[in-house]
């Protein structure tokens, strides 16, 4: 059953040197409980698609449906209880003057969820940050620690859908593995649905059943995990990406 449906989405930003047509007619159906991947060139519109779902991009055309209900321009509080986003740039998305504790307790207060103490402690543990980080400010954290605070903030509301924009690209492999395992486990346990942007095909193949490849604002192909693993791609960009990911350990990238 389709939980999130994006139909013919177009996003146009007003730019100084003319409008920027960042998303051009993208359609994606995400089934409940599925993990859906978005890959594509830098600047192809991946983050903008997620932001449009979250109500943070100027949609010029198209419809976004959540559980059969078409979303209007504004997202209400109930929407953010169900749909949470982890942004690509964790620095920009964490308030510089708020401690980790405040970052995590504020959404709980807004959505009137009790047991704040327990939930905060658990969320920090889950992303591999202990209680010692609770009263730090963002600038007192490393890049990967900030990223994990952003993931904890999204998880703490126990949403149904998580929009994950490069959630682990700032993490070393050991912590990435822990975060990916956590996301996988929560999906099974709580029946969560993910839409996940990543430039790492290994991550997408591990996490996602299906994925769409974007180029210059359009979806140019949609593959299953099996297609990806069998290297069955038809688009040149996807093929280049596959070739580069495959040969990386052996081939010297700078010959």
């Amino acid at each position: 059953m389709t939980l999130l449906s994006i139909q013919d989405l177009n996003v146009v930003f007003p730019g100084k040197s003319g409008p920027v047509h960042a998303v051009r007619g993208v359609s994606i159906d995400v089934t409940r409980g599925e993990s859906y991947g978005l890959v594509g060139e830098s600047g192809s519109g991946k983050s903008t698609v997620l932001r449009a779902v979250a109500g943070l991009a100027p949609v010029s055309e198209g419809t976004i449906t959540l559980d059969g209900q078409t979303l209007g321009r504004k997202r209400d509080r109930a929407f953010y209880r169900r749909v949470q986003m982890v942004f690509q740039d964790p620095y920009g998305s964490l308030h510089p003057r708020h401690t980790v504790d405040r970052v995590l307790s504020e959404p709980l207060a807004i959505h009137r969820m009790g047991d704040a103490e327990k939930r905060i402690a658990r969320a920090l543990d889950e992303v591999g940050l202990g209680q010692g980080f609770r009263f730090r400010f963002p600038h007192q954290l490393s890049g990967g620690q900030r990223q994990r605070v952003a993931i904890a903030r999204a998880l703490i509301l126990e949403p149904e859908i998580m929009l994950l924009d490069e959630p682990t690209s700032a993490l070393d492999a050991s912590i990435q593995a822990e975060v990916l395992n956590l996301l996988d486990r929560l999906r099974v346990e709580r029946g969560l649905t993910y839409v996940m942007v990543s430039h790492d095909l290994g991550v997408v193949a591990h996490m996602c059943e299906r994925l769409s490849v974007m180029e210059q604002g359009r979806v140019v192909e949609t593959l299953t995990r099996a297609d990806l693993r069998a290297l069955r791609a038809t688009q040149p960009y996807t093929q280049r990406l596959l070739a580069a990911s495959r040969g990386f350990t052996r081939a010297d990238p700078v010959t």
């Binding site: 830098s42 490069e166 993490l171 070393d172 990386f248």
Partner: protein, 273 residues
């Protein structure tokens, strides 16, 4: 002769439980080469890089037995000395490009200013050319754009381009390609590689991606809990001794891996001693 020579660098921050050393006795020499620093999130990579430029954020403190650049003792550098060094002779690409770019200035204005500070003859056309070199498709639009109008990978490349304009003698690049897919990554690495080979630049390449670093760099320092726990010639990655380094490669998701939980590290207390 080495460009940068560091002995027993320690960086500390005050916390609720007193001063904590987040970088502990780090020593290395950087020649006209590609030196990789890898390590766990929070292990002190960025703070090591910042300390080389005297950019330890207050109230943090950095101290070292030796911190030399081209024969000059950086521990005694005055504000004026630093002005002559930062962004001209030693440049740093910060981990958070959007944070280090000025949000109210266009990319073009920032690049032209960086070029002027570095004494570039024709900042405007150099800016354009450098953006194209880092594979930005639409250099004109990007020059006129504000940082928030760029995608993650575009911001990262704009930041690299800005630092390259000065043709520094040393470049400290902190996770410079983490937002880029492998196809673009290769192009950016090639530029850095050319600068090391043709112009004798020294490159400190900070990354959490061990595989990338080992294919690109000459030498790799592996950090864990503030310390360098291992130094390897990049080609000797297979012979890594430290369990953190050895375990790291197993944790990577791969296209050909069977589904199921990824292996994780069983961290031992003694690694952090």
């Amino acid at each position: 002769m080495s460009l940068i020579s560091v002995r027993d660098l320690t960086v500390s921050f005050p916390t609720r439980d007193g001063w904590v050393d987040v970088v502990r006795d780090v020593s290395f020499d950087l020649g006209r080469e590609r030196l990789g620093i890898v390590g766990e999130s929070g292990s002190g990579k960025s703070q090591t890089g910042r300390a080389l430029l005297g950019l330890t954020p207050p109230p943090g403190r950095a101290r070292a037995e030796r911190l030399d650049f081209d024969g000059q003792d950086l521990r005694r550098a005055t504000a004026r000395d630093w002005r002559a060094i930062r962004g001209r002779r030693i440049a740093m690409v910060m981990q958070d490009p959007k944070y280090s770019l000025n949000p109210v200035m266009t990319i073009g204005a920032q690049m032209r200013e960086a070029g002027r500070i570095a004494g570039v003859a024709d900042p405007a056309s150099t800016a354009h050319r450098t953006l194209e070199a880092v594979q930005i498709r639409d250099a004109d639009r990007v020059l006129g754009a504000y940082p928030h109008e760029l995608s993650g990978g575009m911001g990262q490349r704009a930041m690299i381009a800005m630092m390259l304009m000065a043709e520094p003698e040393v470049l400290i690049a902190d996770e410079p390609t983490s937002a880029l897919d492998v196809t673009v990554q290769v192009e950016v690495l090639r530029i850095l590689d050319d600068l090391v080979r043709d112009r004798g630049m020294g490159l400190v390449f900070i990354s959490h991606d061990l595989r990338l670093v080992s294919t690109f760099c000459d030498r790799v320092l592996v950090m864990y809990a503030g310390k360098v726990v291992e130094e390897l010639a990049a080609a000797d990655l297979d012979r890594a001794k430290h369990p953190y380094t050895r375990g790291l490669l197993n944790c990577l998701p791969r296209l050909d891996r069977e589904p199921g939980p990824l292996p994780t590290l069983d961290r031992q207390e003694e690694w952090a001693l």
